[in-house]
Amino acid sequence: MHAPAIAGNSVLLLLRLVLGGLFVFAGSLKIADPQAFAFAIKGYDLLDPVGQGGLMAWLAFALPWTEVISGALLVVGARPRAAATVVAGLLAVFTGGYVSVLARGMSVECGCFGSSEFLCSGPIAACHLVRNGVMLAAAVLLAVGGGGYLAMDAKPAGEPAEDPEDDVM
């Protein structure tokens, strides 16, 4: 295997572990306290808490479970492209929420890591956009390039896949 391929696979492995681990961590915190995450969703003021309270409550479970499952798949290297695509979709949704909040001049805590904070603190600001942008770039890279070393798609970077169904769930 060529040196660039080795480096590429190593980078993908690292990205997969870090991004997957972060999503498992973030999702677990929210699952442990769905009421707090429901309040965080409410804080974005995108849905009516009276008329759409049921939907908001359901989202407080749906989003973190999706985070945990896709993050765990990334960590173990199963279906890494599909998992990275789901992560990218989640990040796109979250980033859209941030932009909406900033555009309306609101002061809202992101609730991304429960009551914990990762890299950015305080109400949603440019820092959160940059953080999500970096994670989104990593997710897109994984979705395109695969999971790297120890991934179950097992395609060495730089080589075409032999089995077109290798990523079928």
Binding site: D33, G53, T66, I69, A83, G158, P164, D167, M169
Partner: protein, 224 residues
């Protein structure tokens, strides 16, 4: 580096993505249903928070009425508050009426003057009035209303979140005054939702937050 298209797994990628989402949504829905049918369902508005069986809802003094009436007399209204003082008075009057009928008791909103009146009443010790700071603990540690206890809304959402109130000896009928930063902060509202769900019946939200209280020169924990 191989791309999805190069690998020929486009359909597999799509199926995998859909499978992950469906599995997650199935788990989430099961979890959501279990929680909603449990003893602490998710609530997001005070209208949707049925009182729990733990609280005694009878014959409780409408503490908000005192503060709101004072607010209406001394202030012309606060921009940026979720409820104006006139609305707060109306709520307080409704609360007073509902206290008689047993439908709805003790809810209300007060502004700065109303909050100060309740604070002064707390100092007299005539009845147990509790001031709770619902901001994050770090903000409370930086400075809070004098004699206020820290009770972040995020603490109440935990399963053991009410143990702190029990330890303080807060009664279900005691007047509770909640405040956060002020302006459009939602911590007090969220804490009120959870307190009402638990069965606390006499909750007043001071829409003027700590910022207003401090700027008014009222007693705080800052500066010793």
């Amino acid at each position: 580096m191989a791309t999805a298209a190069e690998s020929g797994g486009g359909l597999g990628w799509l199926a995998g993505t859909a499978g992950i989402v469906l599995a997650a949504l199935a788990l989430a829905t099961g979890h959501w249903l279990a929680v909603q049918q449990g003893d602490r369902p998710i609530v997001l508005s005070r209208e949707a928070a049925p009182p729990a069986a733990g609280g005694d809802t009878s014959e409780e003094p409408p503490g908000a009425a005192v503060g709101a009436a004072i607010d209406a007399g001394s202030e012309s209204g606060r921009s940026g508050s979720s409820i104006s003082n006139s609305a707060g008075l109306a709520d307080a009057m409704i609360d007073a009426g509902d206290a008689q009928s047993g439908v709805k008791t003790g809810e209300g909103y007060v502004g700065l003057a109303g909050g100060r009146a309740l604070f002064d009443e707390m100092l007299t010790g005539a009845r147990p009035i509790w001031f709770f700071d619902t901001r994050p603990t770090e903000r409370y540690d930086e400075g809070a209303i004098q004699f206020a206890e820290s009770m972040p809304a995020t603490r109440l959402s935990r399963r053991d979140g009410f143990g702190y109130l029990d330890a303080l000896g807060v009664g279900f009928d005691d007047p509770l005054v909640l405040y956060c930063t002020g302006g459009d902060c939602s911590d007090s509202e969220n804490a009120a939702i959870l307190l009402e769900q638990r069965g606390y019946t006499n909750i007043t939200i001071m829409t003027a937050g700590y910022r207003d209280w401090r700027e008014a020169g009222f007693p705080t924990t800052e500066g010793g």
